[in-house]
């Protein structure tokens, strides 16, 4: 077997690691701006597939199939995002005689449509969030839309049929906000997924986002895992995930897991997938959607169950039987938390902060896992999602995991660009987070009222920061004077000397 990874960044690195452990050669693909990316350097082979914009490289099906043919790869792992949930791609792999490491094209097609997936859940006897069963027609009139909104009831959520990752999704509080929200959601969905169809769902008040990871083999076995809690979201994007959930007891865990497994079985699902639910304050849960791929947050499940989900994806397509003890899959050992480290500036409203990574020292030590995707000298490009690493902390209990995460966040150094690490340091100190008292609206509410910088230093640290900036300039100037400097430091030296002269 030889696996081509049709992805980039941290997930490509994660899959290469699984391949190495299984002694399977791994082939990377890359666009123009990713020539020096970490996944290219760590793979056994790498093939250039086009210009930087994803539509001309990582989303171009023919280019990827051709790269597999050229390198003799016989299987393709799609990762997440890009082509991972594209039934046309899965079918193209099959037609080219390549093994797609994921579910069948039929399962992707069915569960990829949010409205069709809702119908499948209803047929499996699993409760769904009340809402429209069909998307709006592209030419739906304002009156039709208003009537549909009134029928679903406010507050409601506008969702892209092809959506995922919070893109093409808007919460609407009042009828007059519905039309503009539909317009934005359509435009976002159109550019992100190439499908601008949207529908409506009622918004559950103060819900938690709970999801069940599943594996299904080709012999009829479906195994659900202990839940992940992903309620810490910013604008519908998950930023922190953990397992298990503080809101789920063993009885509820069994009920949600059984519901998830019955949806998966009813559609003959194979390989890795995740079923997302909303959990309301009364403990009632509603099917939200199914993700027919490996999830970003899969490591927290791996940390509390000791199951390697990526290796299992590969073993399943090889025809192996799932021999995981179902009881063990539902019995978490300890607690795991993941922070998604993005190249974003939390002090600028989480604007992307692409640029040159000048230094990198990931956290390590007891209970820490770093799923990183960039290396020193790499320029984080503007073309893709800005996730640069996932930091996972494991502890024997939730408070232990939180303490480890705080320690690891302080250790983690990414130099040259802004990241969300300072934001996570702040979040991990919030009393509601420590107590586990939050829902999917918590973070946006908290951020809406916040004006202070996430990079606040205490007075002593601020003094040392100023001293360090001065010493850095001093040392560079001295080195330049001794003839060992770079042009950059030489300029600084001249500047400093001129300044000194003016001072007399």
């Amino acid at each position: 077997m030889k696996i081509l990874i049709a992805n980039r960044g941290e997930i490509a690195v994660r899959i290469i690691r699984a391949c190495r452990e299984m002694e399977i050669p791994a082939v990377a693909v890359y666009s123009d701006c990713d020539r020096d990316a970490r996944h290219v350097r760590e793979a056994d082979q790498a093939v250039h597939i086009g210009p930087s914009p994803a539509a001309q490289s990582y989303l171009r099906i023919e280019g990827i199939i051709e790269a597999a043919r050229r390198t003799g790869a016989d299987a393709i792992h799609p990762g997440y995002g890009f082509l991972a949930e594209n039934a046309v791609f899965a079918r193209a792999c099959r037609d080219a005689g390549l093994t797609f490491i994921g579910p069948s094209p039929e399962a992707i097609g069915l569960m990829g449509s949010k409205t069709a997936a809702r119908e499948a859940a209803i047929r499996a006897g699993v409760p769904v969030v009340p809402g429209l069963e069909q998307p709006f027609a592209a030419d739906a009139s304002a009156a039709e839309i208003a009537a549909a909104g009134a029928g679903v009831g406010y507050p409601l959520v506008v969702k892209a049929v092809a959506g995922g990752g919070g893109k093409g999704m808007r919460t609407v509080e009042k009828p007059e906000e519905l039309l503009p929200a539909i317009r934005t959601a359509r435009s976002e969905a159109g550019s992100a997924f190439g499908d601008s169809a949207v529908y409506l769902e009622r918004r559950i008040i103060n819900p938690r986002h709970i999801e069940i990871q599943l594996l299904g083999d080709h012999h009829g076995t479906v195994i659900p895992f202990v839940e992940r809690e992903c309620s810490i979201q910013r604008r519908h994007q998950k930023v922190v995930e953990e397992s298990p959930s503080i809101a789920v007891d063993p009885g509820l865990r069994r009920r949600i897991a059984a519901a998830a497994a019955s949806v998966a079985r009813s559609v003959g699902y194979t390989n890795a997938g995740t079923i997302e639910f909303l959990l309301d304050e009364s403990g009632a849960f509603y099917f939200l959607e199914m993700n027919t791929r490996l999830q970003v947050e899969h490591p927290v499940t791996e940390m509390v169950t000791s199951v390697d989900l990526v290796q299992w994806q590969i073993r399943i397509v090889r025809g192996e039987r799932l021999d995981i003890d179902p009881e063990r899959a539902l019995s978490p050992h300890g607690h795991a938390i993941e922070c998604r480290i993005y190249a974003e500036d939390p002090d600028l409203g989480f604007m992307p902060s692409p640029g040159l990574v000048r230094g990198l020292r990931p956290a390590s030590g007891p209970g820490i896992r770093d799923d990183g995707g960039v290396g020193v000298g790499y320029t984080v490009p503007v073309f893709y999602d800005s996730l640069i690493a996932k930091l996972v902390a494991w502890g024997g209990s939730r408070p232990e995991a939180v303490s480890r995460m705080r320690r690891a966040l302080r250790e983690y150094q990414v130099l040259g660009i802004r990241t969300t690490i300072p934001f996570f340091l702040w979040l991990m100190r919030q009393p509601e987070y420590s107590a586990g008292e939050y829902d999917t609206t918590y973070l946006d509410r908290l951020l809406a009222s916040r004006r202070e910088s996430f990079n606040e230093l205490d007075a002593d640290d601020e003094d040392l920061a100023a001293i360090a900036a001065g010493l850095d300039a001093y040392l560079r100037a001295s080195a330049a004077a001794a003839g060992q400097g770079t042009p950059e430091s030489a300029a600084l030296w001249k500047h400093a000397a001129r300044r000194e002269a003016l001072r007399g």
């Binding site: 409203g349 920061a465 001293i467 010493l471 500047h495």
Partner: protein, 169 residues
């Protein structure tokens, strides 16, 4: 050697004199610190402050805009400039202020929508332009209340970081 360091909105005066063996006498706004400094890699400095040897690892790297330095310690990163090589950072949350204010693209992207027209009155923090970058739509807000004086972009315009999108007076 004396430096003026702009950091966290304050200008600090740092005078440095080398003593012996990696030790420096540093005056910070007239307050004396005995610092033991060791270079760690290209950008790192290990500082031990005073008799107590307060230990901090500080990283000083060039930032994303010209002349800006990023100073990282204790898990936080703040911007600094040395001897007035200040460029200022363009921002959506640049705060109020009088006079003409600009809304600037904080990074390269594509203008998706312009939410106001020239001559419109806008409130502080009102959304004015939507820019798509890294697959996300980012709504840029007015830094102050006022009247839209000029708009320099239309939907579809590709913008570089630092490009002035509109002016509010």
């Amino acid at each position: 050697m004396t430096f003026e360091i702009d950091i966290n909105g304050r200008t600090r005066t740092v005078a440095i004199e080398k003593t012996v063996g990696g030790k420096y006498r540093v005056s910070l706004d007239g307050q004396l610190h005995e610092i033991n400094a060791a270079r760690v890699g290209v950008y790192g400095l290990s500082l031990l402050d005073g008799q107590a040897g307060i230990s901090r690892e500080v990283q000083v790297t060039p930032g994303t805009t010209r002349g800006e330095l990023l100073v990282s310690l204790s898990g936080r990163t703040i911007a600094a400039t040395v001897n007035g090589r200040r460029t200022g950072r363009a921002g959506v949350d640049a705060g109020g202020g009088d006079g003409e204010q600009t809304v600037v693209a904080p990074m390269p992207g594509r203008v998706v929508r312009v939410l106001v027209a020239a001559g419109d009155e806008v409130a502080v923090r009102q959304g004015v332009v939507v820019v798509e970058a890294m697959k996300m739509e980012n709504e840029l807000r007015a830094p102050r209340a006022g009247k839209v004086k000029e708009i320099n972009v239309t939907p579809g315009t590709l913008v570089e970081a630092g490009r002035v999108l509109l002016v509010i007076e």
